[in-house]
Amino acid sequence: MRIVISCALLIILSLGLVFALEQAPLGSNHIDKKDKPGRYYLDQGMEKTGAANVVTSVVVTYRGFDTLGEVTILFIAAIGLGAVLYSRKKEKRDQKEKPSASLILQTGCRFLFPLIVLFGTYVFIHGHLSPGGGFQGGVIIASAFLLLFLGCKEKKIPMKSMNAVESLAGIIFVGIGLAGLYWGGSFLENFLPRGMPHMLLSGGVIPIIYIAIGFKVGAELAGIVAGLIERNP
């Protein structure tokens, strides 16, 4: 009965969707007019912001407020996880000996962990020059920590420093926005000199914001993973 109703509902939904999407001009060049934001970002993006990756300049500068909201949502997830899984009696869950990982896995993890962190750092520092950016780099770093959990079980993640890094990075982001308000006239305005495109130090505040985001996301996701595995937020 349940299956029948849900199938009927879904068929109606899909018909509606297909119909709507048929009308929308997909695949055609729909940003050819000059007043569309998409065209503006592509044409003027590199000169105005100095970042070679137009998506980065959109995410950080033009729609920077959305990015602030996004960073906030990740923060909420980390804190909410901590609040939901909070338990006052810190049960020692590893009373029973967990079988430690095999020697190959342990050695591999120890070897790979700094490399993955380095790669993640590379991704978010070069966010404005090549595909990537703060979020992607942060996720890569967090996966390095996940590897550490799975492979080398005796190493513990320092939760206090993760929380501190997270808050500091968040405050830096808001601080840069307020500095833009003070010096530039509007919140999150790009007030540092643009520099030469394709160089590492170009793009004004974009690399700084992305570095802050990279650290924040890495710390948060590592914290989330730690919370889910250890139940000790």
């Binding site: 349940r2 879904l10 590199m46 137009v54 998506v55 959109v58 995410v59 959305d66 949502i73």
Partner: protein
């Protein structure tokens, strides 16, 4: 996306419902990326080998999808933590049994 919705509506295990939610959101993200597609155009990154800005896809939906993916991850993390708590209380993740709050 429709597969995700179907999973959410019909499966009994909470983890399967959460996976259905993830599928649903992934479908929507793909839809958003497709909206920005221009036929024959390339990625919107300037480098020494790309041409002019006239042949690039729309960067805005890609920025939107970045944000939407992060939102989806946050919802999933919260959902999984709630699932852990529920399992502690009820011992099972069968949604038919977790129905203490009646009408």
């Amino acid at each position: 996306m429709i597969v995700g919705l179907y999973t959410m509506l019909t499966k009994k295990n909470l983890i399967k419902v959460i996976i259905g939610l993830s599928l649903f959101e992934t479908g929507i993200h793909l839809l958003l990326v497709v909206v920005g597609y221009i036929q024959g155009a390339t990625a919107p990154i300037f480098s020494k080998t790309t041409g002019s800005s006239a042949e690039m896809v729309d960067p805005t939906p890609q920025a939107l999808v970045l944000t939407a993916i992060v939102i989806g991850v946050a919802i999933l993390a919260l959902a999984l933590s709630l699932a852990i708590r529920l399992h502690e209380y009820y011992g099972t993740l069968n949604l038919r049994k977790i129905r203490e709050l009646k009408w």
